[in-house]
């Protein structure tokens, strides 16, 4: 065991893992997020807490992580390198550790020009790879990035993201390996709509045995409407949605039900792919549907970890 988190125990058990995602409030009312968290309590092992996703100002991921800890739930806090330099990031993860947060997901973050403060200065002092390596070294070597000793026992279960749908495709598996080398114990992928491409990527992953060196959780997002699908297809960086899927949604009478069906089918396919350790369900702005997806995908009740 590295950090002794519930997520780590779930992954080590070899069971098919389910994680969810919560977007902190765009303001001071945290009750809705708590309500969504409560709604998935028995359906997910842990919750990603996004870090100012799409560069929109929200309540801090660490503060929301602490809120979950207080509810006896398991947060995976996201840390992006867009808004903080290495001084702040290292300080913040120590703060997160002090508050009982055990899982950290390292990522670059969407460029600040996409958000509601497009005139802000992007920090990008370090990149996501250096973030993973830096936090691993704080934990394993007891060294800060600058070389000073870390006092006390700092631990964290480290994750990273990978996008099999980004380019260059042939480099995406190399990059996964690099993230594992840097220190990632688990990987959450970008939302999977193009299963064919995901399966090709997984083949390459298995060829190199990377699935045995880290837990790969496939990203799944239910499409709530045709508009949502089109928005994601055209506006969300790193997401690919095949036209056939958009057409299927377009042709369906009940869009929501069809969107759910697509998500459930995706999970069922992912369960069959060797090397996929679980799913990460991202139902931002449709959180209440997560229990139904988990149940209909045959993943309920969840084992106790």
């Amino acid at each position: 065991m590295i950090a002794g988190s519930k997520l780590e125990r779930a992954i080590n058990s070899g069971e098919f893992v389910v994680t969810g995602e919560l977007g902190p409030p765009k303001g001071a009312d945290i009750e809705e997020m708590k309500h969504h968290a409560e709604g998935m309590r028995n359906h997910v092992e842990a919750y990603n807490i996004t870090d100012n996703q799409t560069a929109i100002v929200r309540t801090s991921s660490i503060a929301c992580g602490k809120t979950l800890v207080d509810m006896d739930l398991e947060p995976i806090i996201q840390i992006v390198v867009r808004d903080r330099n290495r001084i702040c990031i290292q300080s913040d993860v120590l703060g997160a550790h002090a508050m009982g947060i055990k899982n950290i997901l390292c990522l670059a973050g969407d460029h600040q020009s996409f958000g509601n403060e497009p005139g802000s200065k992007g920090v990008y002092d370090i990149d996501s790879m250096q973030l993973i390596k830096g936090l691993k070294d704080m934990r394993d070597e007891k060294k800060f990035m600058g070389g000073d000793d870390v006092e006390g026992e700092f631990s964290c279960f480290l994750g990273a993201v990978e996008n099999p749908f980004a380019d260059p495709f042939e480099y995406r598996v190399d990059r996964l390996e690099k993230k594992i080398e840097a220190g990632a114990s688990f990987i959450q992928t970008q939302c999977i709509f193009d299963l064919e491409r995901f399966e090709r990527w997984m083949e390459l992953v298995r060829e190199r045995g990377l699935h045995e060196r880290c837990a790969i959780l496939g990203g799944v997002t239910p499409m709530k409407s045709l508009g949502a699908a089109r928005y994601m297809k055209n506006n969300v960086s790193g997401i690919t949605i095949p036209d056939s899927l958009v057409d299927r949604l377009k042709g369906a009478e009940k869009k929501k039900e069809e969107g759910l069906k697509i998500a459930i089918e995706t999970i069922e396919r992912l369960k069959e792919i060797e090397g996929v350790a679980g799913v990460h369900i991202m139902a931002i702005a449709w959180e209440e549907v997560v229990p139904e997806i988990v149940e209909r995908a045959g993943l309920y009740p969840r084992p106790k970890f």
């Binding site: 460029h111 992007g122 990008y124 370090i126 996501s128 250096q130 380019d167 480099y171 990059r175 960086s237």
Partner: protein
């Protein structure tokens, strides 16, 4: 070279409005090549400024001059007596030129007529691309001559990120993904395996983040004596 573009006329006119004797001063090197602040652009700007002032009933004169390089003391000196006659100098040099002028001759009032945008090069007539941020610790040998500090919008040293699609950056279709370019060049030279090495955090102290930089070359300094 240094790339710049002219400020909106309204902004220049507002800066010059309180003054009677105005000089629009061109700079004939970088900003002349990028067609922002050379002799020709200085003439044009002065002409527009005259019309603008006339329309707004502002008295005075707007004259034009240009210096080979406003960023060199010796070249400023050649025009110094003339420059001292003006109430205000609208410099069409880059930010370096404006500051060299006020540093060298503190009595001059100098305002910027350009916005300095970048260090870069022209790719075609009318198009200039930034490709160096002057970070003080060049990594181009690692990245096949393509600068990720400048050309990747996240200055990633271990790219490409998950926003790279079809060779383009997540910023949009008109921005190339620098890491796709680096990857392709490494692949063409059979060196793509080099990307497996984790590049450590960059030491930004050599860049602007270490404060404004002074470069000293003792070997070429002239001992002026005391």
């Amino acid at each position: 070279m240094i790339i710049a573009e002219r400020k909106p006329l309204e902004e220049i006119a507002a800066m010059a409005a309180p003054y009677e004797k105005v000089c629009v001063l061109g700079c004939n090197t970088c900003v002349a090549v990028c067609m922002a602040g050379g002799e020709k652009e200085a003439e044009e700007t002065a002409a527009l400024l005259r019309i603008h002032r006339k329309k707004n009933n502002i008295d005075g004169v707007v004259e034009v001059s240009s210096i080979e390089r406003q960023c060199e003391y010796e070249m400023i000196d050649e025009f110094l007596e003339k420059l001292k006659e003006y109430d205000i100098i609208v410099s069409l040099a880059c930010g370096v030129g404006v500051q060299t002028m006020v540093d060298h001759v503190p009595s001059l009032r100098v305002v910027p007529g350009l916005n300095t945008t970048s260090m870069g090069y022209p790719t075609e007539q009318g198009v200039w691309k930034e490709n160096c941020l002057g970070c003080g610790n060049c990594v181009l040998h690692l990245t096949m001559g393509i600068c990720p500090i400048t050309r990747c919008c996240k200055s990633i040293l271990n790219g490409p990120c998950g926003g790279s699609a079809e060779g383009k950056c997540e910023l949009g279709k008109d921005v190339d993904c620098a890491w796709q370019l680096i990857h392709d060049r490494l692949a063409a030279f059979g060196r793509v395996g080099e990307l497996a090495e984790i590049q450590p955090p960059k030491d930004w102290s050599t860049s602007h983040h270490g404060g404004a930089r002074t470069t000293v070359r003792e070997d070429v300094r002239i001992d002026r004596g005391e």
